[in-house]
């Protein structure tokens, strides 16, 4: 189940800064960050090309590494493992960006926030359930749906905030953000988004953990309910 990916012909005009695309290519991005960036990539062929160039650099650097010798018979062991897996079910593929969002739509409920806004938690690190050890996640992804014309209270963010619009649009600081646009607001940015007039605005938002609010919901709801 895909969540209305790229149904609009609109080509994104707001892109992630290059350093975030580099984090994606090197593997420095967290699962949440990767989900946000790849959602934008689904809309944006030029950014897909840019990531491909960076991954080519990764390939070139891999090729340039001084080889480290392997124990004898590694190849034979690999070939034996291949023989043994013959006929076995293929390894599960990583989930697609669309299926991650879709799976969350199926398994989580909307949480209502005053002002008509609805939000849903998206677990970006999906796949096999694992221990939380070593997890470097800093922030949570939420799917939001804001009614047309909704005007948020002016608020200031602690930590940077990323948004990807899936459908509809919102206006902020003289800019118009439409489907596929990636909005990166720096730490401490003060703003007051207003939703477009024609349709609800749906998108993904990555909100950083912050010591100021005690719950993630509270943190997100804060701008709307004047915490």
């Amino acid at each position: 189940m895909n969540y209305a990916f790229a149904t609009a012909p609109h080509a994104p005009t707001h892109h992630p800064p290059e350093e975030l695309l580099l984090d994606l290519a090197t593997g420095a991005a967290s699962a949440s960050e990767a989900l946000m960036l790849k959602t934008h990539l689904a809309f944006c062929p030029p950014c897909r090309d840019a990531v491909r160039v960076l991954e080519d650099a990764g390939g070139a650097l891999l090729n340039a590494l001084e080889p480290v010798s392997l124990p004898p018979n590694m190849l034979n062991r690999a070939l034996r493992a291949i023989e043994q897996s013959e006929g076995a079910a293929p390894a599960p593929e990583p989930p697609s960006v669309g299926s991650v969002i879709g799976a969350n739509l199926a398994s989580t409920a909307w949480r209502k926030v005053p002002g008509g806004l609805r939000m849903r938690r998206v677990d970006a690190g999906s796949g096999a359930p694992r221990a939380n050890l070593g997890r470097t996640e800093s922030g949570r992804v939420w799917l939001f749906e804001a009614p047309a014309k909704m005007k948020m209270f002016q608020h200031r963010h602690v930590g940077d905030e990323w948004t990807v619009v899936l459908s509809g649009e919102f206006h902020d600081g003289g800019e118009r953000y439409k489907a596929g646009d990636f909005v990166w607001l720096p730490d401490g940015h003060r703003h007051q988004p207003v939703m477009g007039a024609d349709a609800p605005c749906v998108g993904l938002i990555l909100v950083r953990d912050s010591p100021l609010y005690t719950s993630v919901v509270g943190k997100i709801a804060a701008p709307f309910i004047r915490l």
Partner: protein, 223 residues
């Protein structure tokens, strides 16, 4: 193992080309483990053909040749990114088995062999060390915004781009190359790199930005 052997999307002369290639990698079966000589196939196109042969007909000699070149480099990458030697052997094995399993879906128009194997090794590293599994963009997803242009030969285009990027990486000034290597080999963010090398964050950012401009700038400029 489910492999689509009736793949009609490949170039028409594909079988002819791999038929001539088969003779060469078959010789690599004479070598075992780390006794295998360093790269038998330095020409970039060969590895793409070999991976295609693994995917199309489970060609073990093609796999042996890919293994001989890439496995020791994948191990080097995993060690640089924090794995100890024993774990690196196991992880390298897992990466190479993924190369075998994913070969049927390898598309040389999307990535050259080194790039493709880098992404597999990178994802394995994220999976193992960060306990995360990242969602993938599925190129066959019909809802993906289509590429704006259809070029006559994507495969040549991908190979050409990889060659230019490789050249750009090789000629980066040392102060940029060293930071780019930290980013790729250790999967570090800008701020982590800054604290590791003891440079101000702004300096790291501007040097990496210059490096990325060169990677991009080399594309198309001399074609």
């Amino acid at each position: 193992m489910t492999v689509n052997t009736a793949d009609t999307s490949r170039p028409r002369d594909y079988r002819a080309r791999t038929a001539t290639l088969r003779l060469v990698p078959a010789a690599t079966m004479a070598f075992h483990g780390d006794a295998m000589p360093a790269p038998l196939f330095r020409d970039q196109p060969a590895f793409e053909e070999l991976i295609a042969a693994i995917g199309a007909k489970q060609d073990r000699s093609a796999f042996a040749a890919v293994f001989a070149h890439f496995a020791p480099r994948v191990k080097a990458y995993l060690i640089k990114s924090g794995s100890d030697y024993n774990a690196a052997d196991e992880l390298t094995q897992e990466v190479m088995l993924l190369v075998w399993r994913k070969a049927a879906r390898y598309d040389p128009a999307q990535a050259n062999a080194a790039t493709w194997i880098f992404t597999i090794a990178r994802n394995k590293r994220i999976d193992r060390f960060r306990r995360e599994r990242h969602a993938e963009l599925d190129a066959s997803d019909p809802t993906l915004a289509p590429e704006p242009t259809t070029l006559p030969d994507h495969q040549l285009e991908a190979a050409d781009q990889a060659r230019k990027v490789t050249q750009a990486v090789a000629t980066l000034p040392e102060e940029q190359a060293s930071l780019l290597k930290l980013a790729f080999y250790e999967g570090k963010s800008h701020s982590a790199i800054a604290s590791q090398v003891g440079l101000p964050l702004g300096t790291v950012k501007s040097r990496l930005r210059l490096a990325l401009t060169r990677l991009r700038g080399n594309l198309g400029s001399d074609s």
